[in-house]
Symmetry: C2
Subunit: 195 residues, 2 copies
DNA sequence: CAGAATATTAAACAATGTTCATTTAATCAA
DNA sequence: TTGATTAAATGAACATTGTTTAATATTCTG
């Protein structure tokens, strides 16, 4: 068998990314192998390397997709809020929720060894920027007189905090058995910061 | 060659842990292999598996050592401060500093896939607890009237935030080119929280 | 319809974590 | 001082990994 034009380049790339996405969900980042991806889409491992530089490259593309998805969820959460403070809170909960619902995706994005080299899809940085922008936007409502630099700093500061809670929570490194400790901590962190 | 009593069980275990610690520093968690560890201490890979269940087990022991070291540094930072708020700030800086100085150690502790199973050295949880305790302690000075549960929650909330800044900073995921952005963010986060 | 271009494969490579029978030295009993 | 027992360390093997590449078979082009 060789050269069956079952899929176009773009279709194949999407097949690979999608299969990898699901494999990551099912097995966790560390157990996703080139052969498993190839198996799932009905190709052989070698094929992957024509569209992607290596496995890491594929993971980066998966991250881009997931970040975009996360971004829309955060956007929706913010949109449903009445006040800017509520918006940030809701976004925080949405973030926590995403991490809890898709721990493996979250791990791939933030707690796996996926170095973003030159060949990385520029999308990733853009997506993270967009994420921070959502927070900055709310803060500009809370502090209308603050300059851009201050807002950027504060947004990143608070959101890093939110990220910290989510990170430790997914990895069960909070070591507390309070019910919904992560949500309570998030509430504490955000309200004290924005007050 | 076989059975040369060059080292006792305990000595050998320490040799392994120490060699792994340095290899992690030099190569990053992902590039440390059983053969490299064995090479460095002048043994063969098989030997590692008499003292440790597997590579992951070794990593967990390395984490325990590193956590203890981090703990002493945070303790020292707090001790040198005048006020409790300063103490938390200094601890935060020390945390950030440790992450920046030893990014690979930090990665192994928090951003690598090192599942802590049953066989895990209980030390790890105890070390994390001790770390949180350092923060809680300062907060009990700031809020003398607060009950234990509130303090625990607040300490974990703030420290998760600090951890978030450090995490994103080590991985260059803050995507800002402000000079010492991480330190500024940390200051913002802590002072606003404790104010 | 011949020939060029290319998508896909299959096989190979070195390196990985881990296991285990074998070998060698140290320990113990006499 | 022997001989037998115990245990430490080896080395070879295994399956699996990411990645490369020559060969293959199909589609495209003239």
């Amino acid at each position: 068998m060789a050269r069956r034009n079952d899929h176009s380049k773009e279709e194949l790339a999407e097949l690979v990314i999608d299969a990898t996405r699901h494999l990551v969900d099912e097995l966790g980042p560390g157990r996703v192998t080139a052969r498993k991806i190839a198996d799932r889409i009905g190709y052989t491992p070698g094929t992957l390397y024509q569209r992607f530089a290596n496995l890491n490259d594929i993971f980066l593309h998966v991250n881009a997709v997931n970040l975009a998805q996360l971004e829309t969820q955060l956007g929706a959460a913010a949109a449903s809020a009445e006040t800017p403070i509520d918006a940030v809170l809701e976004m925080g909960y949405a973030y926590l929720n995403y991490a809890a619902s898709h721990p493996n995706r979250f791990a791939l994005m933030f707690t796996s060894h996926v170095p973003h080299g030159e060949d990385a899809p520029g999308h990733v940085q853009e997506r993270v920027d967009a994420l921070f922008a959502l927070v900055t936007q709310q803060m500009s409502v809370i502090w209308p007189e603050a300059d851009a630099e201050t807002l950027e700093l504060r947004a990143r500061a608070l959101w890093s905090g939110v990220h910290g809670v989510a990170s430790l929570s997914v990895r069960d490194q909070l070591f507390t058995r309070h019910w919904q400790a992560d949500r309570k901590m998030l509430n504490e962190l955000i309200t004290r910061f924005l007050r």
